[in-house]
Symmetry: C2
Subunit: 226 residues, 2 copies
């Protein structure tokens, strides 16, 4: 396993260093790679508990204790901080092999932060939805919008300046979900203020979430989780 | 709440920038602070499920899905990446107010990475154990050793060069646990190779853990979790 992992780290590391607009958390690609691979390795090996409800995504998904937040022991966290659509594709088999009952996905803001266009993100997103449909056809998929951000914090600058791209991506995600017969959940509208920004009570850095924000999110998806 | 959080971020940020040997993940103190505060905010507000088994610590605790790993829905993750003994003290009330049934703690390697001596870590550790004994006297506490590291990866250098300090700290933690009537769990000896290093199959970066390492850890503590 070690050789494969080291080879994949090298490949993934190159992918990262090829990104010209790497965000702060990603500039130390070896650290990112280690966390990504450690998390992937765990997700590859955890036992199958049947009828899982999977939360798949990046740091925003990673940051919640979903089963505690939703009071549902079938809710499993499959987020990895700093992940991108390409990362989801590289580790998707660990999710589809479970044949989960439901899958809530949120991904894309890190792709945008690295300079990918919404259309480029959609190309990968389509691959993700194709793979899920093929590999786990009975899984009900919920495509969650990318969340609003807030540049006023001065933090996570390559993310929090992407409001126009996020809104464009969300429009395309809504269409994509309809095309695949998946449910689209518009968390952006639910969580944005009148200027389309993430309110300060929802985030310290304008990107990641406080409990209040997670509670708003959890309450919005509860009808689908049940 | 916002003003308090922002004030505390300022205070905590100063604490971080005062550290002369800050590790890579901590040099961006604003990012660390945001993740720390977001996590603390979540842990402060998640519902009390009674008879919790708490896993308290830094990234090494944070990195596992404990309830999946141990097959026990009472096991709750209260790890925060990059956390230190001082951070544990700042957020300990969110743990003790639950009056958990059991508490597995692992903390200290980030303190050492920043240049604190084992004796300085023990001063804070003693405060942690005092607070738990006072605030949640019926909680059974398990003091877990700091894990071995491996400098051969060339990653996380301020951590992976601390083998002598880790071994010294563990000796003192064993004494401290005995003094407090707590159970000491020597994971270091269980997981270190003959040179006292973390085996490569247990870690990509010489500090954080693969599934194989977490499984070894989980199997070792299972008798205490039950």
């Amino acid at each position: 396993m070690n050789k494969i992992i080291l080879l994949l780290i090298a490949v993934f590391g190159l992918t990262l260093s090829a990104s010209s607009q790497a965000q702060t958390a990603v500039t130390d690609s070896s650290r990112f790679a280690a966390y990504w691979w450690h998390s992937k390795d765990m997700y590859d090996h955890l036992p199958d508990i049947r009828n899982e409800i999977i939360f798949l995504g990046n740091s925003i998904t990673d940051g919640a204790e979903w089963f505690e937040l939703l009071g549902n022991k079938k809710c499993l966290n499959r987020g990895i901080s700093a992940d991108i659509t390409e990362g989801i594709l590289l580790r998707l088999d660990a999710v589809t092999k479970l044949q989960p009952k439901k899958l809530f996905i949120m991904i894309g803001v890190n792709d945008l932060s690295r300079g990918m266009t919404p259309d480029e993100v959609i190309v990968n997103y389509r691959k993700i939805l194709d793979r899920i449909r093929t590999e786990s056809p009975r899984t009900r998929v919920y495509v969650q919008s990318v969340l609003p951000v807030n540049p006023a914090t001065g933090m996570a600058k390559n993310h929090t300046n992407k409001t126009p791209q996020i809104m464009e991506l969300n429009g395309k995600l809504k269409e994509l979900a309809a095309e695949y017969g998946n449910t689209y959940i518009d968390l952006f509208s639910l969580m944005a203020d009148s200027e389309n920004y993430l309110p300060r009570s929802f985030s310290v850095d304008g990107l990641h979430l406080t409990y209040k924000a997670y509670k708003t999110w959890a309450d919005a998806i509860k009808p689908y989780v049940k």
